[in-house]
Structure formats: C-alpha cells, structure tokens
Symmetry: C2
Subunit: 335 residues, 2 copies
C-alpha cells in the first residue's frame, strides 16, 4: 500500500473497533505510530529492551551536582547487581536490560554482563574546552548506531547514568535549539539554592566558550557525555532498524534534539514516554513539539520513565491486533 | 507499629532507596498508599482483577445517547467473547477479568463466564421517577460488597457498560457534590450538538424532580444504574478487604463520590487511574480532590483506564520491595 492508502486503511481499522470514535485517545495515536514505523496494520509489540549508557563528565569536578562523581561508577555496579530502579521497573514491566560503559571514570569495571564501549576515562570539563574530540564523538555515534540496531526488539528504551549530565543536557539543548540557557538549568539530583546558583554560573561560562548555535555533532562534542553521544547514535540506529524508540526524560530529550538534528527522519520512531520534573524538560519537549504519554513527577533518569510507557505501547498494539470490530462483534453503531 | 512509627519507617524505606530524594515522584506516593492499605512495608501487588458491571438505563429511551440501548447487551456479549477493549487491555497488562450482569435489558444472557446479579430489566427512566427502588439499591450495594471482597486480589478495578450511563453519572454527581449540572454533562459516546442540547434538557428535567442535594443511597436510587450502585458496593467491599481499588473514569468517579459518601474510610484504598476526556470527569476529580495517574485522552469506560494504571501499581510495589538502598548497594549519598 502507498502512503495515503496505508493511512486510510489504518484509520478505518482503528475506527471500526468496538468503541466510540476516538474514545481511546492517545492510545489510538500510539497504535497508529507503531503501525507506521513497522509499515504494518498488524504490528508486533512483544519485546522491549532498555540500554543504559553510563559515562562520566569532566564538568562534575566544577561542583554542578549534589552527588560526587563516584556515584556514576557505584550506580553502574548497582545496575549490574540488578536492584537499581531501572532493573526493578524493567522486571516489573517485562523489559530486558543491558548496561553499557561508554566512559565511566576510573579503572574499567569488569563484569560479565557489562558491555564495554569505553571512549575514555570520563569526558574533559566543557568549561575549559570541548568535552570530547570530534573523533570520539563520531566513534560514540557509530558505536551507538550498532547498539541501537542489534538484537530483535520491537521497541527500545535508552537510559543514562552520569553525574553532571543534567548540566551537559542543558548545554546541548541550549546550543541546539537554540534555547535560552536559564530555564534549562535545574536542580538535577537535588541541588540546594547556592548549588543551583553555582551550576547556573558554571554553565553560563561553559556556554560562552562557543557560538550561540552549534550543529549537532559540535554540540555533542563540546558539551555532551560519552553516554549521551552514544545514545544519540543508538536512537539513529534503532529508528533505521524500524523500532520504536522510547525517549526517557530531560537528558534523553536533549539527546533526541541532537538525533533529530542529525536525521529528521528519526522522528516517527520516537515515542516520548514521560514529562520529567526537571524543569528544563518542558523546554526541550516544547522545542521537540512532543506531548509525552506520562506525567508522574519523576526525575530519576536511568530510563525509568521510558520503561513505564512500555505497557502502553503493548496495549496500543494489542488494541490494533486483537480488538473486535463493530462488524465482527455484531455491535450496532451510533443510532 | 503504630501510625506515626509506620509512617516514619515507610518514609525512611523510600528515602533510602538509590535515587535522589523524591525522584520517583508519584510512584513513591503510590508505593506509600499501597503500603498503608496493606499495613505492610513489603506489600504484595501481584494479582489484579477487573470486574465489569453491565446494566441498562431507562433514561436511554429519552434520547440521551448517540448509541441505541441494545449496545449494552451487544457489548456484554463482546466482553464474553473476549475481544472488547477491556479484554484486550486486561490480557496486555496481565489482569483477570469477569463480567457481571447487574440488570441488562431484555431476556437474561446465559453464558458460562457471566455472573448473573440481575436487579431488573434495566432501570426505570429517572425522568419520571426513581431509577430503582430503595430496596433494589440496597440489594445492589450488598451484592457489590460481596463481589468486591471475594477472590484473592491485591488490587481490583471496576468497569461499567450501560448505554446512557454518562447521563446517570452526571445526575448522581450533581446531587452528591452537589455540583452544578451543566459542566457535568458531556457528549458521552459522541453526541452531536443537537444531541447534547437534548441531553442537557432531559437531565435538567430529571434533576428538577428531587431536592438539590441527596444522600448517597438516595442519589443512587433516584438516578444511578444497577451497574453503578453495584460498583459502589464493590468499592466498599474491596476497600474493607484491604485491597487497592483502581478507579476508572467519569462514571466510576461519580460512583466513588457515592462510595465515599457512604463510608469516608474507603478513601485510602482508592487510586484514581486516569483523567477521562469526558469533561464532567474534571469536575468529579476536583470534588474528590483526586489527581489521577494517567491522562491519555481516553473516554471509553469498561475499566480501560483503570487497567492501564495496573502496571504502575506493580512497579510502585516492586520499587518498595526490590530496589536497593544506598547502604545495601554501596552508593554514596549527596556530597
């Protein structure tokens, strides 16, 4: 079927289900998005994997986070131990989970379940110069593309761990939008007022180093973490492989801005899972023109918001595949 | 543990999880609500059942719905056939489902999976007099209490099917709040403008029959459907049995107003699953002081919104039960 024929058949299939027109709201939109991404009126939505990318940020040394840098590494071990929030939610909703070391500071963690894609011993501080070289950024994107496309998943979710990465995300979104910096800067893991003032000052100085607007690769190289650049590549790889990409919160949203800058064709694959309580996310969502599925006041990252949207994806596909039509069920239409 | 001790222990358990304070937002509130209802810091949240109550409304003969009355019966058969939206969503999220005939018009449907609790051949038209007798209302509440308490479910969801029941719900909420009638009246399954005008006129006349404010039993007897009165009883029975009650949309919300009027002690058990697109639901939620978990533009009923919140309940309990603490995972707290 060609585009308009497919759209007409899709509309007909949804509207002939035993429910008032449009009565399943955003679930109907979600079902349509899934059908379009798979090019099928009977899309499959059975298997989802969360990949958590972990990396450290030179910016963490500038006092922009409430938590010390070693928490990135400790949380990496917590993910591998199976009992961080992301693990618990993944088990709860029936999603697989894997963890990628994209460049956590310190000696490499060795663990049978850890995928090592280290691009360095954490990034450099973007206060002084680029967080990573152009070559490292290219490599992160390429490795991410591979990771986004491997396996046999109907949907993929991407999470991140990296102390100071709300700072990195604010700077990336600032340069990509471009968006005003101030509303993108929030308390992250829980800065107090003086901490927030310091974060604002540091980020303003870091932002002043470069022109007001940057191309996606440049914004990532100047300000992102390895985990963010790799996630951008993974979004590109997953979308190219015909998968739904569940976009998590503020950091994943900034990464989505970069991925869309690199390839606007990614857009139909992106499902915005939730609205984070980190205030900059509202700015990013507006720039993306995105209306997320959930709004639960969460701001944890790790892909936790993305995971909670997986049952909605499954339900939307099930609606399209399993639900009776007025005709098949012998139900009368409107009088 | 006594109340304050329990609260302190609960707060400590949630706050010692490996996440910034409050970073799981409403999921933390939900976990706390589950713990309180079960009186346990390690609550169980494994099994959920949706009960769909079906009943017909005399008011349907006054032209207040876009669909003919026989659709109630046809949808009952659709539920029994296993492929209505509620069935599809229940399978998708892993909830059980049962269907209760509370008083569908016409000869009784016989089906091995149908629970018959018929209170009549549909209600009388509340335009002319009470929809049901006080005795029938008492009986509906009693049968509902039994149904709410049976089985071994950690959470229960209640759905409804009954052509004209947005009209009945508007009248019940109007008399219980009391709330202004006008904003409670919407398009239901899809009335056009003349249909909506007619619905408004009919409901205003029906409302004028009785005093501006009614006690819960009277509001139910005057205006509810059998399926609604039975659902009110089921909310009472389930809450008394220590279960979480997932409250669906507009009709279930009006029923929750009645249940709370009958026993305010039900409140802690109620989890408001979603915000319906039927505009009266906003009024009811405000009267309830409730902030629902989901806002997906849905307005189907059947318990479909309640079902989509079940994975969130499960995730919240899993967070409390399975997630590592800073201490157990060796993760540093704020610097």
């Amino acid at each position: 079927m060609t585009g308009p024929e497919f759209e007409a058949a899709l509309r007909h299939k949804i509207d002939s289900k035993t429910k008032p027109l449009g009565a399943l709201g955003h679930i109907e939109d979600l079902a349509a998005a899934i059908a379009r991404v798979q090019g099928s009126l009977a899309p499959r939505m059975r298997a989802c994997q969360l990949t958590i990318f972990a990396g450290d940020h030179g910016l963490a040394r500038e006092g922009v986070s409430a938590y010390p840098q070693e928490v990135t590494r400790q949380m990496l071990l917590n993910f591998l131990g199976g009992n961080a929030a992301a693990n618990v939610f993944a088990r709860s909703v029936g999603a697989a989970l894997r963890v990628v070391d994209a460049g956590v500071a310190g000696p490499p963690v060795t663990h049978p379940d850890l995928l090592s894609r280290r691009l360095g011993d954490g990034t450099a501080s973007s206060l002084a110069g680029p967080a990573m070289s152009a070559e490292a950024c290219e490599r992160a994107l390429a490795l991410g593309r591979e990771l986004g496309a491997d396996g046999a998943w109907d949907a993929v979710a991407f999470g991140e761990m990296g102390i100071a990465n709300t700072s990195a995300a604010a700077l990336v979104a600032h340069k990509l939008g471009p968006l005003p910096l101030e509303p993108l800067v929030g308390r992250g893991t829980g800065l107090d007022d003086p901490g927030l003032a310091r974060k604002r000052a540091v980020l303003a100085r870091a932002a002043a180093r470069t022109p007001p607007r940057l191309f996606p690769e440049a914004a990532l190289a100047e300000y992102a973490g390895f985990e963010m650049a790799m996630m951008a590549g993974a979004m590109l790889g997953a979308a190219a492989a015909g998968r739904i990409v569940l976009v998590d919160g503020f950091i994943a949203g900034a990464v989505a801005l970069a991925a869309l800058g690199l390839d606007p064709g990614v857009r139909p694959a992106l499902v915005f899972a939730h609205r984070s309580a980190e205030p900059g996310h509202a700015e990013v969502l507006e720039a993306l023109g995105a209306r997320p599925l959930l709004d639960l006041g969460m701001r944890l990252g790790e892909g936790t918001g993305a995971l909670l949207a997986w049952p909605l994806l499954r339900a939307a596909a099930a609606m399209l595949n399993e639900m009776a039509s007025f005709e098949s069920a012998g139900v009368s239409g409107p009088a």
